[in-house]
Symmetry: C2
Subunit: 233 residues, 2 copies
């Protein structure tokens, strides 16, 4: 569907300096037990599995995708696949966690570029919505398949979701304490952070309708007005 989405998982964000060790790209990799001794290999195979599975899940859904298809598409045997995961659900967890890591990376990066002044909320919203636009299929997948995860993994995926919403809370807090935004109650601010998160997701799960009427630029403009409560600008 979305050619660009394929390459999303080909950013290789290594961090080899820290403690002199090859750092795990995704926390999920650490959480899944394996018999394989070489951690670098585990990481490489996990990425192969994720890249293969994410495309298959997007196009066929989790349940209609077979473990054999994933193995074939990742260029490993079905036997090897089960050296790196204990179950099909483990693969779904790897996929969900990788998607959230990518969304978080996008938002954090945007944040570091933001000017920090009056308009920085609009800037952050804009960059976040563009991340949602690029990762439309992936975010949709999380909405559809989180329920298929075992409770232990689902909990971790929901924690990821809370962490991303937390980024918007920090932005709102900073702007309020600097006087660039009117004072709000904690509760109200928290809910607004959730609203921003979800209105970004809305572009992914209502795209079948919205894209017929609005470009992503239209959408960002109108939603920014709506969120900031400024009917004219």
């Amino acid at each position: 569907m979305n050619e660009r989405s394929v390459s999303i998982f080909h950013h290789k964000v290594y961090n080899e300096e820290r403690f002199g060790v090859y750092m795990e790209q995704y926390p999920a990799t650490k959480a899944i037990p394996t018999q394989i001794k070489n951690p670098e290999l585990v990481q490489r195979r996990h990425r192969q599995i994720i890249d293969a599975a994410v495309q298959l899940f997007i196009h066929q859904g989790f349940h209609k995708t077979t473990t054999r298809q994933i193995a074939r598409s990742a260029s490993i045997s079905i036997g090897s696949l089960y050296e790196y995961v204990a179950s099909k659900e483990d693969i779904l967890f790897l996929v969900c966690d990788a998607i959230h890591a990518e969304v978080e990376r996008g938002v954090t990066e945007a944040l570091s570029r933001a000017s920090g002044g009056r308009h920085s909320l609009a800037e952050v919203i804009r960059e976040y919505f563009l991340v949602c636009h690029r990762m439309s299929d992936h975010i949709l997948l999380i909405y559809q398949e989180t329920q298929s995860l075992p409770p232990q993994w689902r909990k971790k995926v929901l924690e990821n979701e809370v962490r991303i919403t937390g980024i918007f809370m920090e932005v709102l807090e900073a702007l309020i304490s600097s006087g660039d935004l009117p004072r709000l109650t904690e509760r109200s601010m928290e809910l607004i952070a959730h609203n921003i998160t979800v209105l970004g997701h809305m572009w992914t799960f209502r795209r079948w309708f919205l894209a017929r009427h609005y470009s992503i630029e239209d959408y960002i403009e109108l939603q920014t007005e709506f969120i900031l409560g400024i009917p004219g600008t």
Copy 2:
């Protein structure tokens, strides 16, 4: 999970007067071919199947529920089940369509009670959010399983979604033309209607987080402020 949700499908909204015929409760019943001659029986069995399936799908998901479980829970044999539907996907369609019919009924009913004045938008939002609260599990199911429908049925389910959003558009239009709401562009108004719809759904798919911090009454109050852009009241 939610005891009240069971009874939602036990409202028997018959309309026997029109044309002197026993009217179909759900349009979906008409769309699914069957060998059974008695339409009243088809409708009754469809309702049995829907009531059984909706609970199983909510607790186990569509893919983990077997057609045998549905048949058993609906108190008919697996053979009979397949006299009333052609496939498992047909059952999912019946379920999604019935849920939307129930949501629409709830919103329309609320609308007919609304005072129509200045505060009627807040009233409609309130009643709609209460419908989402009551039907939390059901709305979540639609988010998760719409993708599992064959294209033909998915299209119909998405049309239901558009129709429900359309109700909010009409309310907004009426309030603008009566001068009770500031003038907005058509595009902006349409997007606000979608936002209202989705912020209701948000209570269902973020309930795992929101319910820890807000009661449904808190949620309605804060979201109404957010939507109407009034930080104080």
